[in-house]
């Protein structure tokens, strides 16, 4: 198109398979959040799923950790344009947590200790696509990265993977969470570059 930034050549890489448009690869693990890191003790920790009928399912930390867990190796993509390849997590699949919960809801609003919220369609949490993760790189998940446990929905931009996750509210209608109210996309597919609405 004839436009270019004078004198810029860039540190180009050969095509990086699996890198969404507008992203670059980092090997560090940047942290983004909106306030201080919440102080969450596993003695007080609870995870809840509330359905659209008001039924509430609860897990204490010990009950949660007694559930079958999976190792997950995945790429993650942050809306601030970094992507990190091959990250290693361990967590409980949302398929496990939602098994046996009677719901006709199409959407979930995740909520976190500290007040953060984010919305995800329920089908995106099912089918081996989402976890509540409690380990990163074989270590307990550090608090600044969302420990004791965070949502992990790696096929969406990483703000959907709510840190310090406390529960899900299942909803019939999609409801914007924190960043979504502040201009970020309701769905957030990195491969369609859905950064802002």
């Amino acid at each position: 198109m004839g436009f270019f930034s004078n004198g810029f050549s860039g540190r180009r890489r050969p095509e990086v398979p699996g890198l969404p448009p507008g992203q670059y690869v980092t090997t560090s693990f940047p942290v983004l959040s909106t306030g201080p890191t919440p102080r969450v003790d596993t003695d007080d920790w609870q995870f809840t799923i509330a359905t659209e009928t008001g039924a509430v399912h609860r897990w204490s930390w010990d009950e949660f950790r007694a559930l079958p867990a999976e190792d997950v190796s995945t790429d993650i993509h942050c809306v601030t344009t970094w992507s990190k390849f091959g990250t290693s997590w361990r967590g409980v699949s949302l398929d496990t947590l939602l098994a046996g919960i009677d719901t006709g809801a199409g959407f979930a609003l995740a909520h976190s200790y500290g007040g953060y919220t984010t919305n995800v369609p329920l089908p995106d949490l099912l089918g081996g696509k989402a976890w509540v993760a409690f380990e990163f790189d074989g270590e307990p998940l550090a608090s600044e990265h969302g420990g004791p446990a965070r949502l992990l929905v790696p096929h969406l931009y990483f703000w959907k993977s709510a840190k310090w996750v406390q529960g899900l509210t299942l909803l019939e209608h999609d409801t914007p969470g924190f960043w979504e109210q502040n201009g970020y996309h309701m769905y957030g597919d990195p491969f369609r570059e859905q950064r802002y609405w």
């Binding site: 810029f8 980092t26 306030g35 201080p36 802002y196």
Partner: protein
């Protein structure tokens, strides 16, 4: 002040002025056609395009006052960076790049309504984390706000303090901005206490007491923000009063 609901598409823009702030940081004034205005604390994405069409983009905080209508960013050079070395060392006035924004509606200061009791604002900056906070300070001055502002600015040395002269001037000429400096590696000659790592007692001395219920903005590297926000909580500041912005990895 209106904050655009969402950033627009990429807009071709022209660098109009450049100004070195420190050996590592430079301010670029950018002429963005149709700029809709911004709120202090927002950022823009900047995209560079190489002659063969290769592009790279990064986010930078806006440094200029929202009352100015001007877009200025201050960029700190990351030695292993791809975009920042170009913006700090290479770009000259007249060069073109692309801008998308402004973006971000959370880490934003909104001026008190004229008839409201002003709520103090505590700013806490580590290094180049000063940039979005400077937009707040400049806006506060430009609109003649009486809201008490206080800045705790942690830097390695006076030479690396972005906006050093301007901050000294603004703090000495106005009565609603106080600046508390913390030098972590080398302090000015005769500086009381010399250089010291920031710690809980230094933060206590540098910020409004928690009883005032100040709105707090903290910006810097991830370790800086983690530490500073934890000290603020320890001092009794409410979790919900503290907004943070972290950069880098």
């Amino acid at each position: 002040m209106t904050v655009p609901l969402r950033p627009r598409d990429w807009v071709r823009a022209t660098v109009s002025r450049v100004h070195s702030e420190t050996p590592n940081a430079r301010t670029l004034a950018i002429d963005v056609p149709g700029w809709p205005g911004h709120a202090p604390g927002q950022h823009v994405d900047i995209r560079l395009t190489a002659p063969d069409g290769y592009t790279a983009s990064r986010s930078y905080s806006i440094a200029s006052s929202s009352a100015s209508g001007v877009v200025e960013v201050t960029v700190d050079r990351l030695d292993d960076g791809e975009v920042s070395p170009y913006l700090v060392d290479v770009v000259v006035p007249g060069d073109q790049l692309e801008v998308r924004g402004p973006a971000g509606r959370w880490f934003v200061w909104t001026a008190d309504a004229p008839d409201a009791a002003p709520r103090p604002v505590q700013l806490v900056a580590g290094g180049s984390g000063i940039v979005p906070l400077m937009a707040m300070i400049r806006t506060h001055d430009d609109i003649h706000s009486s809201t008490p502002f206080r800045l705790l600015y942690s830097v390695r040395s006076p030479e690396l303090a972005i906006y050093r002269t301007e901050l000294l001037e603004r703090a000495s000429t106005g009565d609603s901005l106080a600046v508390h400096w913390a030098f972590t590696r080398s302090a000015p000659e005769g500086w009381a206490g010399g250089a010291a790592r920031l710690d809980l007692s230094a933060v206590r001395r540098g910020v409004f007491p928690p009883e005032l219920g100040a709105e707090v903005f903290v910006c810097g590297s991830t370790p800086f923000v983690e530490a500073a926000a934890n000290w603020l909580l320890d001092l009794g500041h409410a979790h919900d009063d503290i907004r943070t912005e972290r950069y880098g990895g």
